[in-house]
Subunit: 694 residues, 2 copies
Amino acid sequence: MNFSVDAEGRPTYELFYKGKTVIGQSHLGYQLKEENPDKATDFEYKTFAEKELIKQKADLQTGFSVVGTQSSTFDETWSPVWGEESAIRNHYNELEVTLQQQKNDRQMILRFRLFNDGLGFRYEFPSQKNLVYFIIKEEKTQFKMAGDHIAFWVAGDYDTQEYEWQQTRLSEIRGRMKDAICENSSQTPAGSTCVQTSLQMKTDDGLYINLHEAACINYATMHLNYDEATQTFTSWLTPDAKGDKGNMQTDCVSPWRTVIVGESGKDILASRITLNLNEPCKLEDTSWIKPVKYVGVWWDMITNRSHWSYTNDLYSVQLGKTDYSKCKSSGRHAANTENVKAYIDFAAKHGFDAVLVEGWNEGWEDWFGHQKDYVFDFVTPYPDFDVKAIHEYAASKGVKMIMHHETSSSVINYERHLDEAYQFMVDNGYPAVKSGYVGDIVPYGEHHYSQFMNNHYLRCVTKAADYHLMVNAHEATRPTGICRTYPNWIGNESARGTEFESFGGNPVNHTTILPFTRLIGGPMDYTPGIFQMDLSKFSPENTSKVRSTIARQLALYVTMYSPLQMAADLIENYEPFMDAFKFIEDVPVDWQKSVYLEAEPGDYITIARKDKHSEDWYVGSSVDENGHVSTLKLDFLTPGKKYKATIYADGKDASWDKNPQSYTITTKAVNSKTVLKLKSASGGGFAISIKAVD
Amino acid sequence: MNFSVDAEGRPTYELFYKGKTVIGQSHLGYQLKEENPDKATDFEYKTFAEKELIKQKADLQTGFSVVGTQSSTFDETWSPVWGEESAIRNHYNELEVTLQQQKNDRQMILRFRLFNDGLGFRYEFPSQKNLVYFIIKEEKTQFKMAGDHIAFWVAGDYDTQEYEWQQTRLSEIRGRMKDAICENSSQTPAGSTCVQTSLQMKTDDGLYINLHEAACINYATMHLNYDEATQTFTSWLTPDAKGDKGNMQTDCVSPWRTVIVGESGKDILASRITLNLNEPCKLEDTSWIKPVKYVGVWWDMITNRSHWSYTNDLYSVQLGKTDYSKCKSSGRHAANTENVKAYIDFAAKHGFDAVLVEGWNEGWEDWFGHQKDYVFDFVTPYPDFDVKAIHEYAASKGVKMIMHHETSSSVINYERHLDEAYQFMVDNGYPAVKSGYVGDIVPYGEHHYSQFMNNHYLRCVTKAADYHLMVNAHEATRPTGICRTYPNWIGNESARGTEFESFGGNPVNHTTILPFTRLIGGPMDYTPGIFQMDLSKFSPENTSKVRSTIARQLALYVTMYSPLQMAADLIENYEPFMDAFKFIEDVPVDWQKSVYLEAEPGDYITIARKDKHSEDWYVGSSVDENGHVSTLKLDFLTPGKKYKATIYADGKDASWDKNPQSYTITTKAVNSKTVLKLKSASGGGFAISIKAVD
């Protein structure tokens, strides 16, 4: 990485990898909001000189000179509470550059950390007289590309991440944007050439480049805006309700902007830059944080066979006034005690840790689309959901419950109830919560990925830590590695997940892209494990098909790393395939080591992981609509050790659309010298458990 | 009152008083927000018929027919916990009209209550299939005036009530509006012919008409927009951040719109319609609610002699991180333990209940103008404010403390801390809190008088009741009588108060208007009792003069009814005038009976009130720049009883601008046959204590 200041005093950096340009000469800085009072009359009366001074003060891009630099090296190996490996090396060279902006008598510090597989940098603003409070109009961090790379991108949006991935050249982003945006319950497209991070690119000369951010704390989420003429991305932050992009108070720092570079997709997935740039764990006691494998009452409603709501008898709900005991059940309320007990039994029988139940609480009859403030209270169950009985039953079976807090994006209401809601969880056997933010944010004008909302999500996590609770936040901002600092933050959805298979389907290659574009900052609660792809078989009005074979569904437990894994289907859809289900029973959710065997974004991913608590390994592969032949060298196994592999593969005639439920299960003795050749179907894959034989 | 439905099916009412038209034919109804989704593409594809249907559904103004009416009479006398009298008669004829809107298959109920001195009416929306959730685009309640009346008005604004009163004909509102708006720390003028309520008018044929609202709960505050062509006011609600005017869920009701009518100003002030239209007290135990006479550390900072902030050493504050023990006091921090103890001593010596202290807590160095979220925590004192010592000292003297919660309009932050802040009050001897909302509201786009904020203010009051705490909310919405339902709501400022005497001065006749335009809905914490009118005498840079004589300041304790009364000046400014101060010591803050002796808005007000707990009476008079001669018949005294009157009057040569501190104190034996003739100076008045001699 080279850093310099150009003739106009603009801070400039560039990045090279083995002689190849990754980032060309790119500027750094900020455009601040002009300090001018909003009242036009005041501005009219200001002299020209005063107006020029106001403009000058809003400039945090030019007129800098270097007044000091410091270099250092850092090399430490640390252990995450959970992860893809049990030890992570954090090794970088650091350059701290102190810049003085003469004309405004201000200082700004740039901190660069150069790793073997990439770069992270951030802005720092020390406490100082001439920069106390400032409002960001736009952050002006550039990333100049060295060519018209192939990119895997999602349309930039302030409220949703659930668009389908696009694969185009950078120059084609503008033309593709219209088709890249489909309907969503809350959406605000950011701009005609704006994309989300992490952005995955492939250059024509064989480099893989990934742009993202780390430690986005008390700051708005960054999108990337592309300029075709200069082949340059510029940071584009999420605005607040006034259109401002950040309220800052020195001393403060920006998030780290990250550039991961590799010669293959495997290098990208193996990078730990995002976690390494985050602060170490701040929780003294983490003994209560445990990865979770779960089942639950959810897919039943997603597929529209059942409803979240209890009754059809009400026009609307007024919590505390509406008397549900006077209403009759619609007969399609899956979150009832009997049904939940069946899931508890299933969980206990098959070694699952927990059961999630959605639709357990009063308020679902009118929860959506009314900008209702007091939409849920998070503690009052429906008449057919017996909190106490379920708590006792689950406890008697050694099973925990996972709470559901759909906030309906009524954020102030959620915060008002948060302590009571968390205490309710503690009192009733719910060590983890899945929270949701469906719909436009209230307070009006705020966006899901704004500074205000990012502070809210973190506040929910830190408060949960006080109660020893774990959080899995859906519809929240895509993560930026903060789970290192608060490992009770065990998941997010924050991308297009399995539910969209029921809303029309996900692209067949969707899960070959997600690890590059969504998992870089933290795990995803993808909720795989669907065995019945034809949803009309049990939910007659639902014509959607899940675009996957069963074998690929098994593979996702390995390829879609998460400390929180759901076997999402209905019990009855597993029952005909309990031999295949065995893989889900066996697969761990916490790892000692991960090896990326092959990884081409958009095409195929094959990963092997070693169980944290044994000598066993698990392999998973997910492929696109073309299918794939994998040649796997098992040289990651311990030499000299004997293993028994169970291979769950696509049947010979399998394919996601014609024959998704066709699979084979073969067992085989293997060792570190074994080479396996496996054929995956269209939209298929394979999953292998490799158990040490001792 | 006549009600009818016109040819277009518009609900119409008119109001007469002894044959004179008060309100001409005026329509009632709502314009709803069109249910159309925001996405333009959807609307393009809708057929013409569908578009027409959407428009039709948004119409809640036409196409009504009367399907039922019910008449009844109500006559009850109730006792307020505190008030201008100890018994209030609530006597009205009620007309309930059920209207059916055929085209939309909806029902709306109008409820009218006709009193001897006015009318109240509201809209009611029963729970029904075709009206569950609706968004108000504008309420369309008309008040057609019968002439170009003289009006006493304040410019309509969504964020401030602190403009000066204007006295013009209705037709002159538009022309005067520009001058009616001056700078304020948070302001959003509502419209070029928009005024606030309560609106006081005088007709050329001798009627006094007052328009206001009662029980504004879960609803936006109403302004009145004037149309010169039709001489009609139409309701104009306060918008939310999206520009909508109300989120409604049936079953629901609007606030009561009130028209008070009289033949003199006295009739207006004597009306109890606003309280009578509110729900009876909802608190079972009200024994802990007590009127309060207080002194405090406040005027010192308002006059800029001292500062709220502790130190000049900081650029800004980060609560929890900033270490105040490392900072030195500016030397101008009045909220220090020693000074507070002096006020406690003064309070104890002169029979005051409590001491208010502002600037006691961390955060004042950068509290204003930064839209700071975490601006105060409401529980952490400055290094020189010893909470425990002050608590014990006050308790030892039989004095309570009044808490100060300046929220800086960071409302979500305040709600986050509210329980802890209230518990802190309970633990440390603070039975009442003065809250403030200075600056633009956060969440952005909300306004001080929006539905969201009205819900917030009420939430603070109901939660305070749980803790047995009383609330006095400054910068909050002007009250609408809800203090009947929650009598721990003991005050608001919500108009231009005494502090503006230090910010340039109030109009000399300001307090002769306020009872008509501000006190109709509830008491005002006007904080009178200023004895040193020349502020430069103790705060050299402050060139403001308080536009009042001392005698008028004494009178305000009677004419500006409030259960919460402050002797606002510095102790040292009272010390030269302890004979005059005696009136403030003596005057009660709770009354058995009130008699309005003379009242001409803008000119003079003279009121007599009987102490709730004795046979004593107190009289106060406040007059405008012309001075006034009052002829008072003391026939409100008990016949046959003997009294001793102490008359605090303007000196012969007194005037607000040249000789404000000139007063005389005379004693006199009086009885129910006595007639007193008293001359008030320009900007002066008089105060009389009439103590029973027994």
